[in-house]
Each structure stands twice: as C-alpha cells, then as structure tokens.
C-alpha cells in the first residue's frame, strides 16, 4: 500500500544559494505557492481587465470574492476594519486557492504544513499587537481586563485572558493545518483500500465499490472544507483585528 504521508514530503528541486550555512532552495512547496499566487493574480487581473458594467464570468467571480470579504470584514470588525482589507483578502485567497489546488491529484498542498499556517497566524497575531499599541497606546491592555469583575479575582482573570490571547495563533494555525492534513490522509488511505481489495479478484472488485464511493464523497467534503477553512481563517483574522481596533468596547 502506498505511504499516505508521502504526499506531504518536501523535495528539493534546485538550490539557489547558500547564505550563512543555510541552503536556500526551490522546493515543491515553493513551486506550488508560486502557482497559487500566479493563479490568484490571473483571476483578479483577468477579472478586472474587462471593466464591463455587466460583468462576464471571470469578472463576476472576482467581484463576488471582493464583496464576500468586504461584507465579512464590515460585519465583524466594522468599517474601521476595511483598512485591513488587503491583508484579509490576501490571506483568504491564498488559503482558498492553495487548498483547492491541493485537492487535485498529484499536487502538493501548501497549507498542510504547519510552518506555512503558523507563519500566517503569527503575521495576524503581531499585526494585532503592533496595530493595537499604535492605535490605542497602553489602552490596548484593556483587552485583558474584563469589566464588572470583582477585584479579588481580577488578577487571576487577567492572567487567564493573557493565556487565552497567547493561545490564539496556535488554534488559528493548527485548525487549518490539521484539517488539510487529516483530510488528505483519509483520502489516501481509502484510495489505498481500493487497490488492495482489487487484488482479491471479483469479490474484491465488488467490495472495492464501498471505498470508491467513500473517496468520491470525501472528495466532495474536502472541497467544502477547503472553502470553509479559508473562510474560518479570514473571519478569525477579522475578529482578532477587531480587538486591536476596539479593545474592551
């Protein structure tokens, strides 16, 4: 049976340079990140080049994604959150397209590596901290002090709030990474069952219908998960940014 983890292996394709003993190489991961970015750029540039009043197909896809993210930001972070539209839109599109590309067989899923998702989650985390202090000064600490709490348990609550704040990038990154990893392993294992059962003759062929049906169904589910995880990542980014814009309101 094929190794279900093999699909996540990073292979080096070309070495560009050695900087301070660290090898800078082009890997399959980097290639698929580039494909993702080129795909998004092609969609958006192609969508906005016609500038038709009545949008064509690609233009309406570009418009729908714009409006979707704009509505999400305005409903969770208010109109003040719109200055973070480029960040949220970039994250959403990158994750969505990377997830969707990953569903195609023989491709590499960029978001199935925690280093990628953790980088994006930490980017959001530090954006929240830096913008929070820039906008509110020390008032940003109000985020950790809930109102209407008796003084004698306040230190404990503040401590727990800080822990809760620190745990954000972890849940933010692990959720996306774990969902993509688990989904792809499940698909691979079930697909492996088909070939294994096919080796047992006619009875095996009949039995293999069951995992085949499951693979088809789970592939459909994976398309949904790919979209939902991108959406969850974007909406959590908005919620965290909202804390930086209006702490303790």
């Amino acid at each position: 049976m094929a190794d279900p983890i093999h699909q996540f292996e990073i292979t080096k394709l070309a070495t560009i340079a050695n900087i301070g003993g660290h090898e800078i190489a082009i890997t399959n991961s980097a290639i698929f990140m580039a494909i993702t970015v080129v795909g998004i750029a092609a969609l958006l540039v192609g969508g906005s080049s016609a500038r038709a009043l009545v949008p064509g197909r690609i233009q309406s896809v570009a418009e729908v994604t714009y409006e979707f993210i704009a509505n999400t930001i305005q409903s969770t972070a208010g109109t003040a959150g719109m200055k973070f539209f480029p960040l949220v839109f970039t994250l959403f599109m990158f994750i969505l397209v990377a997830n969707m590309i990953g569903i195609i067989p023989y491709t590499f899923t960029v978001t199935s590596h925690i280093i990628v998702t953790a980088m994006m989650a930490l980017l959001v985390f530090f954006t929240v901290i830096i913008y929070g202090f820039y906008k509110n000064g020390l008032g940003f600490f109000r985020l950790f002090v809930p109102q209407g709490i008796p003084v004698y348990i306040l230190p404990l609550i503040v401590f727990i709030e800080v822990l809760s704040f620190i745990s954000r990038p972890i849940s933010h990154s692990v959720r996306l990474f774990a969902n993509m990893l688990a989904g792809h392993i499940t698909l691979k294992v079930l697909a492996g069952f088909i070939t294994m059962m096919g080796g047992f003759g006619i009875a095996g062929w009949l039995g293999a219908v069951l995992p085949l049906g499951l693979v088809v169904a789970i592939t459909a589910l994976e398309v949904l998960v790919a979209f939902l995880q991108a959406y969850v990542f974007a909406i959590l980014t908005c919620i965290y940014l909202n804390d930086a814009i209006h702490p303790g309101h």
């Binding site: 727990i160 709030e161 822990l163 704040f165 745990s167 849940s171 939902l228």
Partner: protein, 120 residues
C-alpha cells in the same frame, strides 16, 4: 358557396387551432407557475446559505480552541519548571490555568460572551 363554406371551414378550423394553442399556452403557463411556486417553496429553508456556512465555520472553530489553551498552559508550565527548577509545580498550576483559558476560548467562540473585556 362551396368555396365560402370551404373558407368558413378553414377559418373555423384555424380558430379552433388558435383556441387550442392558447389553451395549451395557458395550461403550460399554469404548470410553469406551479413549478416555480414549488421551487420557491423548496428553496425556502436554505434561503440563506451564508447562515449554514457560518454555523459550520463556528463548529470548526470550537474544535481547536480548548486544545490550544491547554497546550499553551502546558508549554509555559514546562518552560518555567525547566527555568526555575520548580518541577512539577509550574506544570500543575499552568496546566490548570491553560485549561481555564481554553474554556474561556470555547465559551467566547460559542458566542456566549462576545469578547475579552466585553461589558456583560
């Protein structure tokens, strides 16, 4: 006369055909109306797909919030123990605090309390 009756016959025939056609048209229109009505009724419950999507999204959120809190607590406890040599005191205290933070996260993600520092 024979021609007249012939014409009359043709006219009446055409009239009958038109009547039949318009009847069919009306019938078709009624059936289409019914179909459209049915479709509207069928589309009723899933009128807001965004609602379903965000409910699913919230479900996905909840799954990792608790674990993240516990992990952070455990890591801080472990690091403090290693640094100050207080093993296993720091681990015990911070694991419990991390669990509390995780529960906080879950309660907040479930929308019971709207956020840190919320007035309620």
């Amino acid at each position: 006369m024979a021609e007249d009756t012939g014409n009359d016959g043709k006219d009446s025939k055409r009239l009958a055909e038109e009547a039949a056609l318009s009847a069919r048209l009306r019938h078709l229109g009624e059936r289409l109306g019914q179909k459209a009505g049915n479709r509207e009724v069928e589309a009723g419950p899933s009128q807001d797909p965004g609602q379903n999507a965000s409910a699913l999204a919230r479900g996905f959120r909840l799954s990792t919030e608790l674990v993240a809190g516990v992990l952070v607590g455990a890591f801080i406890g472990w690091a403090l123990d290693k640094w100050l040599g207080t093993s296993p005191g720091g681990m015990i205290v911070f694991l419990m605090l991390g669990f509390a933070a995780g529960v906080f996260n879950v309660v907040r993600a479930a929308g019971v309390s709207s956020g840190p520092g919320s007035r309620r």
